[in-house]
């Protein structure tokens, strides 16, 4: 089994010599050798059917290419897998753990990194990592202001967009393109706006997005929140939300469980606007019959928050090599192109396309076109995620203020 120091060595050597590159190749050959025949238990949120189908496709591919079997452990919430690793650590099971790979980011990643529950650094050992964009897509290496330090492999980019049905909201000029405008809109359309419950990451993201939009200088959010800074900085958010809440769907007394539940509400006609962390989700949902073909997307004028989804390997995983092979396949141009195709998943890729070969780059030109997809100009520049402590505190503060 590869040791931690091997990676440190590899990582530094990689940058300098072709000899080292050859060594890395040898090391990777050995990983491939050990991985063959392993069964990787990939713990991933399973609330989305297309993601499940994509994970199944990844399983077929790595089985055919490298003889690695993938079992999708279907989670209702990523924290279930984190809990599991913690429970194993408590019971003293430091190897042969039952979780091999976790789809992770945000507080779950922070919790696992802080408690030393992750294996690695692994990214530099993966042959395909050289294609990953680490300069422009900063969230690939900084997750909610936490340096990833190679402990997790980025595989999918996300950015907030709002989704509406153009058959019902006919005038694009009236769309609320800022947090204050959203409050005005909600007052005029009582019961037609909501957000996922705040314990769901998309729900707290809605509040975070409003916060970023409401304050003058979002740079303060890159630092960890303190009691003082939190109270001061979030004051405008709560003032805004106090007025918004009574105008929400169900008078702000009930919230959908997650993003797909809110999408279902839009499809059922119960609300007019939903939000998504995936700019292509609306287009993908239309072709899957989950939303009417008339839905379109919009963002805030000042831009919206973007972040990256990772996969990480727990420190006690039983099949680390197999997990690395799966992670490497996820950042393979072929897998990334398929993931971005709205026919399959529609997630933005994490790669720097200029680093790809012409043949691989061409894969991204052949993706399924759609009118529902926002253009790169529509999307604008992604705003960096605030420090994870803001999300945790916003969630706790919301529970304190609004749970009776």
């Amino acid at each position: 089994m590869l040791q931690r120091r091997d990676f440190t060595f590899l990582a530094s050597a990689l940058l300098t010599s072709s000899w080292a590159r050859a060594q890395a190749l040898v090391a990777w050959e050995s990983v491939l050798g050990k991985a063959r025949g392993q069964t990787v238990f990939w713990n991933a949120w399973a609330g989305d059917e297309k993601t499940n189908a994509f994970i199944a496709w990844v399983g077929e591919q790595v089985k055919a290419r490298d003889g690695v079997t993938v079992v999708h452990t279907r989670l209702k919430d990523t924290s279930e897998a984190v809990t599991r690793v913690i429970a194993e650590k408590s019971a003293g099971r430091n190897e042969g753990g039952t979780v091999d790979l976790i789809w992770i980011n945000g507080p779950n990643f922070l919790a696992m990194k802080q408690q030393g529950l992750l294996y690695g650094p692994v990214t530099q050992a993966l042959p395909n990592f050289k294609y990953v964009d680490v300069t422009h897509k900063r969230s690939n290496v900084i997750d909610f202001t936490t340096p990833v330090d190679g402990l997790a492999v980025p595989w999918s980019l996300a950015q907030i967009v709002f989704v509406y049905d153009s058959a019902r909201l006919r005038n694009p000029a009236e769309l609320p393109r800022s947090a204050p405008a959203m409050l005005d809109w909600a007052r005029g359309h009582a019961g037609r706006l909501t957000h996922p419950k705040v314990s769901n990451f998309l729900g707290s993201t809605f509040l975070k997005q409003a916060l970023v939009d409401l304050i003058a200088d979002p740079a303060v959010l890159q630092l960890p929140a303190t009691d003082v800074s939190f109270a001061q900085v979030t004051a405008p958010l709560w003032a805004w939300y106090d007025q918004l809440k009574p105008t929400l769907w169900r008078q702000g007394q009930q919230f959908p469980d997650n993003g797909s539940a809110q999408r279902q509400l839009l499809n059922d006609g119960e609300i007019d606007i939903t939000l998504s962390f995936n700019p292509a989700e609306a287009a993908a949902s239309v072709s899957a019959g989950l939303l009417p073909p008339t839905v379109r997307s919009f963002t805030f004028r000042k831009g919206t928050i973007g972040n990256t989804s990772f996969v990480a390997i727990p420190y006690n995983a039983a099949h680390k090599e197999g997990a690395m092979v799966v992670a490497d396949f996820l950042i393979d141009p072929e897998a990334q192109a398929r993931a971005q195709d709205i026919k399959y998943l529609g997630n933005l890729n994490v790669l720097d396309l200029s680093k790809l070969s012409a043949a691989d780059r061409a894969r991204f030109d052949r993706l399924t076109p759609s009118a529902t997809l926002p253009s790169a100009a529509d999307l604008g520049a992604p705003v960096l995620e605030p420090h994870a402590s803001w999300m945790t505190r916003i969630e706790a503060e919301w529970q304190k203020r609004y749970t009776r």
Binding site: T73, S79, R84, S90
Partner: protein, 586 residues
């Protein structure tokens, strides 16, 4: 008699040695996990769980629990849901029984109830949710034509803070269960003759049932009622699907905390689970006290000899309500079945624009694995429970128990009722109160996340149901058949296989179908013992219920409901096929 011939052959002795172990093994199979699990939950409730840094006893978990946002609302909600659904279920079951007993078709009620009872709770809850949503099926039938609602009204149904949809769904499931228990108890009371006598004295059929039969039936449905109370107070899957989310019921809150990445939440989670155990025990105590208080009052009412009164109309109202609930349950399942074959179906269309098998085709790959696991776990836990139950019952019938022969009838009764109480243990203790402790134990012995662990966890709940459904017909077996066979030279083994089993095949298969249905429906035990890694139709359906495509959810719930239904169908038709040539057994 039975003992005279068993003493003659040495071959016959060996199985009897094994049989003597059966009651111990059976009790151990479900009591040990519960006991260990309870201890494993109690310790962190008082701050002790060294593995995650709790190394001294304290009351902090309780302080955190009390200080949690919405705690008192959550506790209140738990109590309201538990008590309201139990009271309504009991009243409805009694009303329906009182209304139907003298009518044609009452005999067939049991076979009508079976499919309702076989429906997994979560499948029914998911279907019921679609039925009652403001954009749901009921509203779609009348909109916008009758209501003018071009967009769905902004009214809370599913997830409403009052919890009424949760109560309605529980009543829908618990009323048939209680009715079936009443029907079973009626077999032991000579009801028709007594009712005839009461009616001769001028009582109406309903009043006669309530005044003469019910007092005899009630002691036998007391434990089932307690089980319903305990279940309604601590249910998790139905509450996740239909209950309020902020705050949820106490049981759901405990599950949420148990699955929080922040391990310090285990402590308030364990405290919440322990509190729930206390709430259940106190509620059972309160119900018992209410029985004691009501008894003299009811006796006086009976002795007053009032003939008329509101009993008959009340029973009719109850029966209508029962019929509406049954219809609702059927519509709930049909709605999900329709979704599974629907093309994109939007408000306000009452029916899908078209039908297709696409969803089934697309889902078949995903459905196959969990479907097999469901089948495997269901069959394995049922077979294990069946072997243990048969061993216990055979041991009982072969052992000339002192209670049976010499002791006064009262002592025998108390021995029987003690064992029944023990059997009801898994149904009276809230699942969440021992499953976390059990998970820690399973990890320690390296059995966690295995199919065997899930089978064992299911066995805890499958065993009591199987035993309770099989014990009565087994004990009622006419021993003269066995004696006749023995006098012809048959060994006890041969008597068992060639005489007893064929005669009792029908109740045996029906009890197995009940057990299998119980296994299919298990959510929390599968989640905890399987560590989220053993996926069954039920765990997947509940996971998907939080927002996935309704067409996809439709395929999962349809399959989830189909499994137990097929088991029932098999159980009722197989004896006819096997014993088609034997009168009275088919």
């Amino acid at each position: 008699m039975a003992d005279t011939h068993t003493d003659t052959g040495t071959a016959a002795r060996r199985p009897r040695h094994l049989l003597r172990l059966a009651p111990v093994l059976t009790v151990a199979a479900f009591a040990v996990p519960i006991a260990c699990g309870l201890v494993g939950t109690l310790m962190p409730a008082f701050g002790y769980l060294p593995a995650i840094g709790g190394d001294r006893w304290s009351l902090d978990p309780w302080r955190v629990l009390r200080g949690a946002p919405g705690f008192s609302t959550s506790l209140q909600l738990t109590l309201v849901v538990g008590w309201a659904s139990t009271l309504l279920s009991v009243l409805l079951a009694l009303a329906v029984a009182g209304f139907l007993h003298h009518r044609a078709g009452a005999k067939r009620l049991g076979s009508w109830l079976a499919p309702l009872l076989a429906m997994p709770h979560s499948a029914l809850a998911i279907g019921f949710a679609f039925l009652i949503l403001p954009s749901g099926w009921l509203v779609r039938w009348v909109s916008p034509g009758l209501t003018g609602w071009t967009i769905p009204p902004d009214v809370g149904t599913v997830g409403a803070a009052s919890g009424w949809p949760l109560i309605a769904a529980l009543v829908m499931k618990e009323t048939p269960f209680l009715l079936l228990m009443i029907l079973g108890a009626l077999n032991q009371v000579r009801a028709p003759a007594q009712i005839a006598a009461a009616r001769a004295m001028g009582y109406g059929p309903v009043m006669a049932w309530f005044k003469v039969v019910l007092p005899q039936v009630y002691p036998q449905i007391r434990l089932p009622i307690y089980a319903v109370l305990a279940f309604s107070l601590s249910v998790v899957d139905v509450a996740i699907i239909l209950g309020p989310g902020n705050p949820p019921t106490l049981a759901v809150q405990a599950v949420r905390w148990f699955s929080d990445p922040d391990t310090t939440r285990y402590f308030p989670a364990a405290a919440a689970a322990t509190l729930l155990l206390g709430v259940v025990l106190a509620s059972i105590g309160a119900w018992w006290l209410a029985e004691c208080t009501a008894q003299p009052l009811l006796r006086r009412w009976m002795e007053r000899g009032v003939r008329g009164g509101a009993a008959a109309p009340a029973a009719s109202v109850g029966a209508v309500a029962g019929a509406v609930l049954a219809l609702t349950a059927v519509m709930s399942m049909l709605g999900m079945l329709l979704w599974s074959i629907a093309e994109p179906w939007r408000y306000p269309d009452a029916f899908p624009p078209g039908l297709t098998l696409d969803t089934w085709t697309r889902q078949s790959g995903q459905l196959a694995g969990p479907a097999w696991t469901t089948l495997l776990v269901g069959v394995a836990s049922t077979v294990l429970a069946l072997v243990l139950t048969l061993a216990c019952l055979e041991n009982e019938s072969l052992t000339p128990g002192p209670a049976r022969r010499t002791a006064p009838a009262g002592a025998a009764m108390s021995a029987v009722s003690a064992s029944v109480w023990l059997l009801y243990l898994p149904l009276l203790v809230p699942q969440i109160a021992f499953l976390f402790g059990l998970q820690v134990l399973l990890i320690r012995i390296g059995l966690d996340a295995t199919t065997s662990a899930v089978v064992w966890a299911h066995l805890v709940f499958v065993l009591p149901y199987l035993f309770l459904s099989l014990a009565e017909p087994w004990r009622a077996f006419d021993t003269r058949y066995a004696r006749a066979a023995a006098s012809l030279g048959a060994s006890p083994w041969r008597v068992f296989w060639r005489v007893k089993l064929p005669i009792l095949l029908k109740p045996l298969l029906i009890a197995s179908a009940v057990a299998f249905a119980i296994s299919v429906g298990q959510y929390l035990p599968t989640l905890f013992a399987g560590a989220g890694r053993v996926a069954t139709l039920t765990t997947e359906a509940v996971t998907l219920s939080a927002g996935a495509d309704r067409r996809v959810i439709g395929t999962w719930t349809a399959l989830q409901a189909l499994f137990p239904l097929l088991a029932y169908l098999l159980a009722t038709t197989a004896p006819r096929l096997v014993h088609g040539h034997r009168k009275g057994l088919a």
